[in-house]
Amino acid sequence: MQVSMTVNGDKVTREIEPRVLLVHFIRENLGLTGTHWGCDTSNCGTCVVLMDGQPVKSCTVLAAMADGHDIRTVEGLAVGGTLDPVQQGFMEEHGLQCGFCTPGMMLTARALLDRNPHPDDAEIRQAISGQICRCTGYATIVRSVQWAAAHPLGAQAEGDAAGAEESTSEEVTA
């Protein structure tokens, strides 16, 4: 069957089998391997992408079901070469170790901040509770999302790279 959808702003059309899952469509058919494929059972959340702005587990959505919808993957977070504040936050606050859960974590964080620009730590933890970081780096992930909330335009736009540096050294000494 033929499916068409918008992925990171680009219209894509492919011929696929109906049983192809969205995660494999994105990785294999579109070659966008930033979306990771983990447990296959909608438990780990590494395959999270945004579908019409909402985080969904793409291992449990058929590509056919995404036909006509708007998909955003981690490759679509940076705009015009500038990293999304969430990506900057993960750098500034060491939000990743092995990086396997990171794309899904960042997309869920983006969706959360779009809805709730100033979440508290409990709200962030709740938002990412369907996603597993096997390095157990949750504390730094929460701090990374808080960094993005505090810098909605990113570090460069606000000219406060120094501020970001400060918070990093703070964390190191903590």
């Binding site: 049983r19 899952l21 296959d40 909608s42 959340g45 985080p55 449990t60 079901m65 509770s129």
Partner: protein, 300 residues
């Protein structure tokens, strides 16, 4: 099918896919494609079962475009919830929180926020997993299921909706359209679940609803348990409270009866004794909370 480096992917067996344009069209497609066709909504129960070959439909009929099935509407003394209403919408509804706090209690512990963006009330009820939280919730609220089929609409009480594990009153050529909850004055409800980890199926969960009369005595009550092999609610336990002022010793007695009436099985989630203990303790807790909520509820 194998993925990169030859890793094995879990992929459903081949099937054909068609997207329904409205409810009438969905019913036509069910009729046309016959017994091996299945409705898919959120897909978070069906797709995992298809990956494991526990379900192997030849046709999937996708109803996600059916906006007419996605609503939470207060009409007269009823709250009407469309079958395609997502868990997230139920969790965020002010009407649900005010009128049926048990739904909110349960939604907070169903899977996780990302899964709740996709999963639907209709899918949960039609999947009819014995550990499904919303099945207990709907039993306890004595909800009604509105089912559409080729011959029109029929309304089925929740007590007749569930026919057993993974079996419901919805026939192959029918579709669950909506769930109706009756709004009662001076009522309260609550749900509590013990799970091995956040987002897991219940080891055991309990739900209770009460309606008080003007003088504060219990007029109507329902007690249900999840994942312990109970068919519907527990009338013997409910009888303990009916006509009485809510009291701790009655909660204890009702909970004791409910725990004795259920049929837990020994499995990876725990032994029978532990589950029975949970059934007892959780029933007491939800009765306390439901009665407190009813006492604080609006008069009408």
């Amino acid at each position: 099918m194998s993925g990169p480096k030859g890793w094995t992917m879990q992929i459903p067996a081949p099937f054909d896919y068609e997207r329904a344009s409205d409810v009438a069209n969905a019913l036509t497609l069910l009729e046309r494609h016959g017994p091996e066709s299945r409705i898919i909504a959120g897909g978070h129960s069906l797709l995992p079962m298809m990956k494991l070959r526990l379900a192997r439909p030849e046709w999937l009929i996708d109803i996600n475009d059916l906006a007419e099935l996605e609503f939470i509407r207060r009409e007269g003394d009823q709250l009407r919830v469309g079958a395609l209403t997502r868990h997230t919408a139920l969790l965020e509804s002010a009407d649900v929180a005010e009128l049926f706090p048990i739904i909110r209690d349960a939604e907070q512990v169903i899977a996780d926020p990302v899964v709740r963006n996709r999963g639907t009330i209709g899918g949960s009820l039609c999947q009819a997993d014995p550990a499904e939280d919303l099945s207990t919730v709907c039993d306890v609220l004595r909800a009604q299921a509105v089912i559409r089929g080729p011959d029109g609409e029929r309304i089925v009480a929740m007590s007749d909706f569930h026919r057993g594990p993974y079996e419901t009153a919805v026939a192959q050529n029918e579709l669950l359209y909506e769930v109706r909850f009756t709004i009662r004055p001076r009522s309260g409800s609550a749900y509590e679940k013990v799970e091995r980890r956040v987002g897991d199926w219940a080891v055991v969960a309990a739900g209770a609803a009460v309606g008080l009369s003007a003088d504060g005595t219990v007029e109507e009550t329902a007690i249900g348990l999840t994942a312990v092999g109970l068919d519907g609610t527990v009338p013997e336990a409910e009888a303990v409270l009916r006509g009485q002022q809510p009291r701790e010793d009655l909660f204890v007695e009702a909970a004791r009866i409910a725990a004795a009436a259920c049929h837990p099985v020994d499995d990876q989630r725990g032994p029978v004794d532990y589950k029975r203990h949970l059934a007892d303790e959780l029933t007491r807790r939800v009765l306390r909370r439901a009665c407190a909520r009813a006492a604080g509820a609006k008069e009408g």
